[in-house]
Symmetry: C2
Subunit: 390 residues, 2 copies
């Protein structure tokens, strides 16, 4: 076992730094002339980003702009379907997505769904594959999902209650604009949830990779976790610390843009698999759900696979000289303690989820488990993990 | 001072792993139908790569193939000009470059030079800028330069004796195939020189970056240096250790593909500036020249800027608790000792360069210094640095 063969091709152009939001017009104009302008709730109207994007689009001579606001976190299929209708009605040729992962994921679903006659959910069920898509430009407002530089998307079906994720290389945004100053106004809880999400992406790769000889990727990922923790702490001290916001923003992108994963071979996303059911059923923030699942999953995992978790403890938290099982245990505690410190929940109770629902959650997660081919995770194992989150 | 604004766009598709050389035909066919097949000396005929590439190209239905072998290390402008004539004569539309950085850099020069009426050297002198280029597919045989995934090229003018490097975003290869098994037959000295070159790329960024708050990039680079050292050592123990060859190959690409540099702002390449004169005048291997220049430059640098070098010493070599100046000193010694251990030269004498030539070398390097805007490096400072390499 060794580094696995891989193909890496990430065509997204990143424009990073303060004062870059105003480049959206120039960039979008290279992609299309009739724009679907997709965004979320009120935050971009409050912090001026909405006005700046519109002014930049108009200033670049783009006059055909159809707005589609109201994307919510855990973005809904019904809203995606409305967006698809808007694109088809006016024959729009480009999507400008301004927001976090929910808005960008919705843009991706619309970009693929608008060009086919069948319903977009067929893609998520694995019944149809994506063959073409509209170009997407994004302005990122919440560092967390890395959707701004990857080819994945996660949507919740509000008819059936299932939250499912898929990927396709046609879903990379053409260009993403990352201005850290835009993130100054993110409240502490969502800053923390974003950091947890980014750490979760790294932990999924780090802990589920089957190859024992991928030290290049490991060092890269350990460095990212160290920096996410350090810079999240700095932003919680001072929300408008540019350096800290910039470092955190870039780490979140790097955590799931394919760079750390290249060569790891097949990895699983069991923590996300379980969390998708939490946020689908209880509509909790994704990062909050993850900070409950991560310590539980790591506790379950360390019993049979302590080595990687112990190594992480040594390199990220400076743990030393304990037997490997103890060191892995301490590493899990370090993560749990840090989540608590940044006020992200670490138990189902704190998340407002009754323990009596564990069986129901485990059963719900089997759909995602099947689609992601996580065969090992039957309802019993998933229940065992969730029981560790009480 | 903080992370600097940046634009990142690296479109090169990487196909990595054992058994991937045979994909070159399929990939090249998507780029063109009339191929310039560029390569170096005998090594690819000895290790079977030449036959495999030709078979793959033919097997994909590409019948118009013009061969242009004989690229030497420190690749020559005269050979580039011959390649340009071959492309223009047959109206070739794609270049397949099989080799190390010298072959790939030559391919880049041909790809831009074949589409203009003026001489290709005008680009290197900064008199003309590149506006278009032919598509390039590469099969990498020597991990070192990262030219397989970046937009830079370095060519030596055999009329004037100057070795100059430039970059342009049109010079990214479209696709690069990295098969670690191809590197099994690289002899120990060239394996070592490649590792030194990759480390030099990281050190240039790490030490010349003016921003004090780029911890994400720093951790990434420290991890790469650790892995280059560990995996180079492994390959020198066992040339056909797949994991070690794979890790070393990927590290060399990551060391200069733009990923570590994003956000560092303006950095300098003073060690390469000086080394280019060594290899231009004495035709020494680039990595061998660098292993002489690195300890000398670091010794000069640490006297005024010990902090970053001391930090590197702590995180890469585990140095601890010395005053910062001492720790920086020890860090330089660690690099020098390791170069000696892998049998790469660390003095001008070992390189076969007489100390009496130092003044001449320093004067020669002023052309590159001017083109790269390294204003600080006048002949006196460059002599001072070279004096530390005796």
């Amino acid at each position: 076992m060794t580094m696995e063969n891989f193909v890496l091709e990430n065509p997204t152009k990143i424009i990073f730094g303060k004062g870059t939001v105003g480049t959206i017009g120039r960039e979008a104009k290279q992609l299309g002339t009739k724009i679907l302008f997709l965004y979320g709730q009120k935050s971009i109207k409050n912090n001026g980003v909405y006005d700046e994007v519109l002014a930049s689009l108009n200033g670049s001579g783009i006059s055909h702009i159809v707005e589609h606001g109201g994307v919510k976190s855990n973005p809904l299929l019904s809203h995606v379907r409305q967006g698809i209708k808007l694109v088809q009605k006016d024959n729009l040729d480009c999507i400008v997505a301004v927001g976090g992962g929910s808005v960008i994921d919705s843009a991706k679903a619309i970009s693929a769904g608008a060009l086919v006659e069948h319903d977009v959910w067929q893609f998520f069920k694995g019944k149809k594959s994506i063959k073409k898509s509209l170009p997407i430009a994004t302005v990122l407002t919440l560092p967390a999902s890395a959707s701004e530089m990857n080819s994945g998307m996660v949507i919740t079906n509000d008819d059936t209650g299932y939250k499912l994720g898929i990927g396709n290389k046609l879903l990379f945004p053409k260009v993403s604009i990352l201005d850290p100053t835009v993130t100054y106004t993110i409240p502490p809880n969502y800053t923390a949830y974003g950091a947890v999400d980014a750490i979760a992406h790294i932990l999924e790769f780090y802990c589920t990779c089957k190859s024992p000889d991928t030290p290049v990727q490991e060092r890269f990922m350990e460095g990212l976790i160290i920096n996410i923790i350090e810079n999240c702490n700095r932003t919680l001290q001072k929300g408008n610390d540019y350096s800290a916001r910039a470092n955190l923003m870039w780490c979140a992108t790097l955590a799931l843009n394919g760079w750390t994963a290249a060569g790891l071979g097949k990895v699983g996303f069991p923590m996300h698999m379980i969390e998708h059911s939490l946020s689908a059923i209880y509509d909790c923030p994704h990062g909050a759900g993850l900070s409950v699942v991560i310590p539980a999953w790591l506790t379950w995992r360390r019993k049979t696979h302590p080595e990687k978790i112990a190594q992480l403890g040594e390199r990220v938290f400076g743990l030393k000289s304990a037997p490997v099982k103890d060191q892995a245990h301490q590493c899990v505690n370090q993560f749990r303690d840090w989540f608590t410190q940044i006020k992200s929940p670490v138990t189902l109770t704190e998340l407002g989820v009754p323990s009596s629902d564990i069986k129901k959650i485990a059963e719900h997660s089997m759909v995602q488990a099947k689609l992601w081919r996580l065969q090992k995770y039957d309802t019993q194992i998933t229940e065992d993990i969730l029981n560790l989150a009480q």
